[in-house]
Each structure stands twice: as structure tokens, then as C-alpha cells.
């Protein structure tokens, strides 16, 4: 396009769409893919830790959890019990020792933990001394030394407030962290529904009451953190990069809507086997049909990174304290814990109280129990919903508080106060992006829409090549730029798929007791991804697609087998015993693996229809069709 000539809106927008999409397309694909997988972050981590697969639900689990806590933490100021549920088969047990100051306000009113570690957000850390958690975790201390960072922490701007919290969520990952941060992080992982009070986190098998020590893994948390902080670079810089990519995504989306000629007329249209036309149809279908999701996820992603990209408003209004802003946005109010009376008293029976709470929330269920001052006359028992009911309140779970001695209801679930419109919008988008409120069905729909988003980006990238096929024929040779895009497409799309599945393989093949496993897993991921690049450059375009897609498909298809041989719950067993978290991973792997192999096969057998069809045309369409 020439800029010195007048042109129509659609033409300008078309130019913008093409180039905004291409320049950051590969990064966007990586963000979309890892972000989509993050919806199943807990499940991925669980799959990578086969030790936990042996856990079975049991009626008496809660009693066993209490007696285990009574044994290991008799004098604790607070016990937290994350109940097994939709997202975890084990009890997660945390506690806070008596001497520690309360690290945060009332747990139910602050950021996160409604449904376990996955719910982590880019939120503010509530006031409190984070450092106290250092080294309290079993592996925290020695690992912390390895991960010691060189420079000062990045916490100069408002970033810090956001950082602490989100870092608290992260899994074993991050090349540069101080021991203190590391300890805090491990403490944060304990938040499986119980809040982040630091302290050790134990996994308990409900059926036996025994503790399970799972292997160290970077888990789904690596993918989650990668999708907004990339890896191995300064966090602030990474968030800038991701933020700019998100902006480009938004620009590409809006311009794409403008240049789409007949959104409604072509709403249901897909014409397979027609080369460029099919690619355009597929690109349009995956974009338009999941448009609500795409707009929501991009816009909310921008909002989540807004403090990074545009910190000035918060700085001006809150005197530089992003933490204060976050506190107000989230409607946090700290509440002091009730003091110990010093008089000991047995704890009221939990089962009837749990029953009462379950009656109160028949749909949402109970996610976590917090017991303050256990064994004291001043004990309190708090039940928290497994997931919240409204987006406007950040899908924050409600809670019920009982007197720990006689089991009287002290605090009924509060009706959510109507938030102001700004906060409601912010909260709504926040909750939507993180999917904290999502029931399993909704979670799968988010996942499916995310896959459509991946296909949208990938098909757009492929279309850039296809649309220039004729120029190339006219020129009689392949310009360097075209070849570069081809190579980057293969390595960025098929290579990333391959790297991700190799990451899953690595997590199960690396011996369980090696120290620093998580770094090895991550190294495997990046080595494979890096190798995809020279491979794509050395092979022809079609060979590269076929080989990388085929290998990725084969390895994905074999994941359930790896799970079975590697000591996990194999598919028939997990299906029969209702371990949906593990079974879901295996079934998804079978489905996606089969589709990738089909895509590779179609690419391999594809005969170009005419000179305007590229070699990958139809087969790639197949890929997106099937993946969709």
C-alpha cells in the first residue's frame, strides 16, 4: 500500500490487519496457546504428579484431615483445609503458626483462592510481611539458594503490589528469584482454596489419611506464567511485550471486523477444499463464531496489564500506591483475627456444619474450610464456596462462619453489595479472564474458545503466505521475506505444539527425585522449540509442517500411554473411578493428538488444486476445522 495516495477505509484497515497480525502473530499464538492451557492449570499439574493419582474420595476424609492437622500442627493459630473437588482429588492442608502475624485480611475478601491455585490473578498482594514465609516450605530453602537473583528486585513501581500476589501463585518456575521470593511463592501454592497464609502445604489422600509428597514440577504454572510473563527475562519488560502484543491483537481484531464484508451473511459459511477461499472461511469462522470470547479475553487481558502499560492514573489518584488501588478495587477490608482465649475446648463436629453449608450452596459447593484457633474456646470455623456466583463481585466466593465450640452460625453469607459500575466492569472482566467462577462445563467452553483463538491466529499467519503465492509465481522465485514467514510459521505453530507436548513428556520421564526438575522440564520445552526452527528452515515447507505436526500428534496421542506406564491412573481406571481431572487430560490428549495427525496426513497427501492453492492449503484448513 502506498501512503502518499488516498485510499478507502477498508483498504487501510486491511493493510493494518495484515501487518498488525503478522508482526506479533507468532507471539500471539504462543500467548493464546499457553493461556488456553492455563484454564486447566491445576489439572495439568495434577497429571504431571502421578503420585497424587492414587487419591480416592472418601466420606471420612475430613475427619482424617483434622486428625492429621492435629498431629502435625497442634498449636497452630489457623488451619486451612482445601477440600477435594472438581479440580483436585486431594485435601490441601495449610496452617499458620501462632507467633505469625496475620499476613492478610479476612481471607475470603481478598484476592483469589476460590478454586485453588489456578485462580491466581495479577492482583495486589494484601498488606503483610511477605518475607516471613521464606524457607518455610519443605524445599523452599535449598531451592531458594539456587534461584537467587542477581540484581535488586524489580519492585520499584506499582508493579510490586501486583507482583507479590501473582508471584505467590506461581509454580516452581522463574530463573531469577531470591530465596525469599521463592519461599513466598511456595507458600502461595498452598493456597489451594485455603488462602495464602504461607506455611507448609500438605497433600493428603482422603482415603487413607496419609500425606502424599508429589514430585517437583513446573506443572501447568509454567504455561500459565509464560502466557503473560514469558520466560527468563525481566518481568516488567515481559509484561510490556505481552501488553503490546495484546494491543496489536485488539487492533487486529477491530480492523478484522471492519474488513469482514458480510459477517452475518457468511456467518455459517465454510467451503472446504477451495484453497485460499477455505482458509479465509476458516479464519472468519473461528474469529466470528468465538468473537465474544476473543474480544473479552483480549480486552480483559489488556485490563489486567493496564497498570503496567498505563500506570499514571493509579499513581496520581492513590499517591503512587497501586496496592491501595487494588485494595479498593477488590473491596478488601482487613479483619483482625479473634484472639485466643487461652481456654482449651474441643472443636465442634464439622460434618453437620459442612452439611449446612452445602445446603446453603447446593450449586457451588464448599471449597475450603478455615479454622482459626483450633482447640481454643475462641475457635471459629469458616466455610467458603467453591466458586462465586456473580461476575460483578469478581466471582468472589461467599463464606459462612460458625462458632468453633458450639457450632453456632456467627456470620451468614453476605449478600454481595452492589459494586459501582467501574468496579463491576473491572471485576467482571477480571473474573472472566481468569475463569475463576467456571464450572467444569464452562471451563471446557473457555478452553474450546481458546483453541478457536489459536486456530484463528494460526490460520491468519498461514494466509499471509497463501495470499502471496501468486506474487511468488510471478516473480519466479521465493523472496526471502516469504520464506522467513514460512519458516517462522512452522516453528511458531507446529514447533510450539511439539515443544508443549515434549514438556509433558519431560515432566514424566525425568526421574522424580532429581533436584531442580522443574528447570529441566522447562529446558526441554525451550530446546525442542528452538530446534524446530532450524528444522523448519532445512526442510521444505510441506515436509516441515508434516514432520512437526505428525510428531507432535504422535507424542500427544501417546500421552495417555505414558501416564499409564509412568505410574499414573490410566484412562480406564480414571474413568471408572471418576477421576475426571486425570481422565480429562488423557481424553483431550487423544482427541488433539488424533487431529494433529490427521492434519499432518492431509498436508502430506494434499495435491495442490491449482496454481493459486498452496501446498498446505487444504490440509491446514482441515487442521483448523478439526481442531475447532
Amino acid at each position: 500500500m502506498r501512503f502518499d495516495q488516498a485510499r478507502g477505509l477498508r483498504k487501510s484497515m486491511s493493510w493494518l490487519h495484515t501487518w498488525a497480525g503478522l508482526v506479533l502473530g507468532w507471539l500471539l499464538f504462543a500467548i493464546f496457546l499457553t493461556g488456553t492451557l492455563s484454564y486447566f492449570r491445576n489439572e495439568i499439574t495434577l497429571w504431571m504428579q502421578p503420585e497424587l493419582h492414587s487419591a480416592r474420595p472418601d466420606e471420612k476424609g475430613l475427619d482424617r484431615a483434622l486428625s492429621l492437622l492435629g498431629r502435625v500442627a497442634p498449636g497452630a493459630a489457623q488451619w486451612q483445609i482445601a477440600l477435594p473437588g472438581e479440580r483436585s482429588p486431594v485435601f490441601g492442608l495449610n496452617w499458620r503458626e501462632a507467633g505469625e502475624t496475620e499476613g492478610r485480611g479476612r481471607p475470603s475478601m481478598v484476592e483469589d483462592d476460590g478454586d485453588g491455585p489456578s485462580s491466581g490473578g495479577l492482583g495486589a498482594q494484601p498488606p503483610g510481611p511477605p518475607g516471613r514465609r521464606a524457607g518455610r516450605e519443605n524445599r523452599g530453602a535449598d531451592e531458594g539458594a539456587q534461584w537467587r537473583r542477581q540484581g535488586p528486585p524489580e519492585a520499584s513501581s506499582g508493579l510490586e503490589a501486583r507482583e507479590g500476589r501473582s508471584r505467590g501463585r506461581s509454580g516452581g518456575r522463574g530463573a531469577e528469584r531470591s530465596g525469599e521470593e521463592r519461599g513466598r511463592e511456595r507458600g502461595g501454592r498452598g493456597g489451594g482454596g485455603g488462602g495464602e497464609h504461607g506455611g507448609p502445604r500438605l497433600s493428603m489422600n482422603p482415603a487413607t489419611g496419609g500425606m502424599i509428597a508429589p514430585r517437583e514440577t513446573a506443572g501447568g504454572d509454567f504455561l500459565y506464567r509464560f502466557h503473560f510473563e514469558l520466560y527468563g527475562m525481566d518481568r516488567a519488560l515481559a509484561r510490556w511485550i505481552v501488553g503490546i502484543a495484546t494491543l496489536f491483537m485488539f487492533v487486529a481484531m477491530v480492523s478484522g471486523i471492519i474488513i469482514h464484508r458480510n459477517i452475518f451473511k457468511d456467518f455459517f459459511t465454510f467451503r472446504p477444499g477451495k484453497g485460499k477461499r477455505s482458509w479465509l472461511d476458516a479464519h472468519n469462522a473461528t474469529s466470528v463464531l468465538a468473537l465474544p470470547f476473543h474480544l473479552m479475553i483480549t480486552f480483559s487481558g489488556l485490563l489486567l496489564l493496564a497498570n503496567q502499560i498505563m500506570p499514571w492514573a493509579a499513581h496520581y489518584a492513590y499517591g503512587g500506591s497501586v496496592r491501595a488501588m487494588m485494595g479498593e478495587m477488590k473491596n478488601m477490608h482487613a479483619e483482625s483475627a479473634s484472639p485466643r482465649s487461652g481456654e482449651s475446648a474441643p472443636l465442634a463436629a464439622l460434618a453437620p456444619l459442612l452439611e449446612a453449608a452445602r445446603r446453603q450452596w447446593p450449586q457451588e459447593g464448599v471449597g475450603a474450610i478455615t479454622i482459626s484457633n483450633p482447640g481454643d474456646a475462641n475457635a471459629r470455623i469458616e466455610f467458603r464456596q467453591a466458586r462465586g456466583v456473580s461476575l460483578a463481585t469478581r466471582a468472589y466466593p461467599q463464606s459462612m462462619v460458625f462458632d468453633g465450640r458450639n457450632g453456632q452460625l456467627l456470620e451468614a453469607p453476605r449478600a454481595a453489595e452492589a459494586p459501582g459500575s467501574v468496579r463491576a466492569i473491572w471485576s467482571g472482566f477480571n473474573a472472566l479472564h481468569l475463569g475463576r467462577f467456571a464450572s467444569p462445563l464452562l471451563r471446557w467452553m473457555f478452553f474450546g474458545s481458546g483453541i478457536l483463538g489459536c486456530v484463528m491466529v494460526a490460520s491468519g499467519l498461514v494466509m499471509w503466505v497463501i495470499a502471496r503465492q501468486r506474487d511468488r509465481e510471478r516473480a519466479g522465485h521465493t523472496p526471502f521475506g516469504h520464506r522467513l514467514v514460512e519458516v517462522l510459521n512452522v516453528a511458531g505453530v507446529a514447533g510450539l505444539l511439539l515443544a508443549t507436548v515434549c514438556y509433558f513428556w519431560a515432566s514424566r520421564l525425568i526421574p522424580a527425585d532429581i533436584i531442580g526438575r522443574s528447570r529441566l522440564e522447562i529446558a526441554c520445552f525451550f530446546i525442542v522449540w528452538l530446534l524446530a526452527l532450524p528444522h523448519a528452515a532445512l526442510r521444505t515447507h510441506r515436509e516441515a509442517w508434516v514432520e512437526q505436526l505428525g510428531l507432535a500428534g504422535l507424542l500427544t496421542l501417546l500421552l495417555p500411554l505414558l501416564n499409564a506406564l509412568g505410574g499414573g491412573a490410566w484412562l480406564p481406571l480414571s474413568l471408572v473411578s471418576g477421576q475426571w481431572q486425570v481422565a480429562g487430560f488423557d481424553v483431550a490428549a487423544l482427541g488433539i493428538g488424533a487431529l494433529l495427525i490427521l492434519a499432518a496426513w492431509r498436508t502430506h497427501t494434499h495435491v495442490p488444486r491449482s496454481s493459486t492453492t498452496t501446498q498446505v492449503g487444504t490440509a491446514g484448513t482441515q487442521l483448523q476445522m478439526e481442531e475447532a
Binding site: 451473511k265 456467518f267 472446504p272 463464531l289 465474544p292 461476575l391 467482571g428 474450546g448 476445522m625
Partner: protein
């Protein structure tokens, strides 16, 4: 279970919308529908979509209900698009033709 009901309702609604569009009516019914009938299909389709939205909202509350509805909409539309391209027979094309044939004696009239 309720989600399945809304999905089915959504799917039927979207298919009715398809029948109201010339290109897809040809795929489904073999020819375009006469004007009033096409309009009728579109109205019915929209009503089914609204109905499923109301079902979801009644079930899950406004905010999460709408979220779930959009998700189901995407799922249903994607299924429909794939079926239209690869397995139109699964969409009850024969049933639609038979019904239209009953209604118009010798089959739906092709519009010029």
C-alpha cells in the same frame, strides 16, 4: 442437563436461522424458502436463541448465565458450520425437505 437443553435450543435456533438464509437453505432444503417462510424461520430462530439465553440466565444468574450462553452459542455455531460442510445429512435435511414438501404439495417452490 439444563446446559444440554439450552444447547439443543440454540442449535435448533441457529439451524432455523440457516434455513432463513438463501445459501444455507439450498444446502439444507435443496432450494431457497419462499419469502414469508424464510422470514418465519428467522423469527423462530431468534426466539429460540432468546429462549436459550433466558434459560441460562434463570439457571446461573445474569452475568455467568450470559457467559455460559455465549460459550454455548460458539459451540453450537461451530458444530453447525462443520456439519453443514461435511455432514449435512445429520442436520435432518431429509426431514426438512419432507416437511416443506408436505406444506407445499410438490415441494418448496424455488424463488427466481
Amino acid at each position: 442437563m439444563m446446559a444440554l437443553a439450552s444447547f439443543v435450543l440454540l442449535f435448533i435456533g441457529l439451524e432455523a436461522l440457516c434455513l432463513g438464509m438463501d445459501r444455507h437453505a439450498r444446502q439444507l432444503a435443496g432450494s431457497t424458502l419462499p419469502g414469508p417462510l424464510a422470514r418465519c424461520a428467522r423469527v423462530l430462530g431468534c426466539m429460540a436463541l432468546l429462549g436459550s439465553a433466558m434459560l441460562e440466565i434463570a439457571q446461573r444468574g445474569l452475568s455467568i448465565g450470559l457467559t455460559a450462553w455465549f460459550g454455548l452459542l460458539t459451540l453450537a455455531a461451530m458444530t453447525l458450520v462443520l456439519a453443514l460442510s461435511y455432514r449435512p445429512a445429520w442436520l435432518g435435511a431429509r426431514l426438512i425437505r419432507a416437511l416443506l414438501g408436505r406444506a407445499f404439495g410438490s415441494g418448496p417452490s424455488a424463488r427466481p
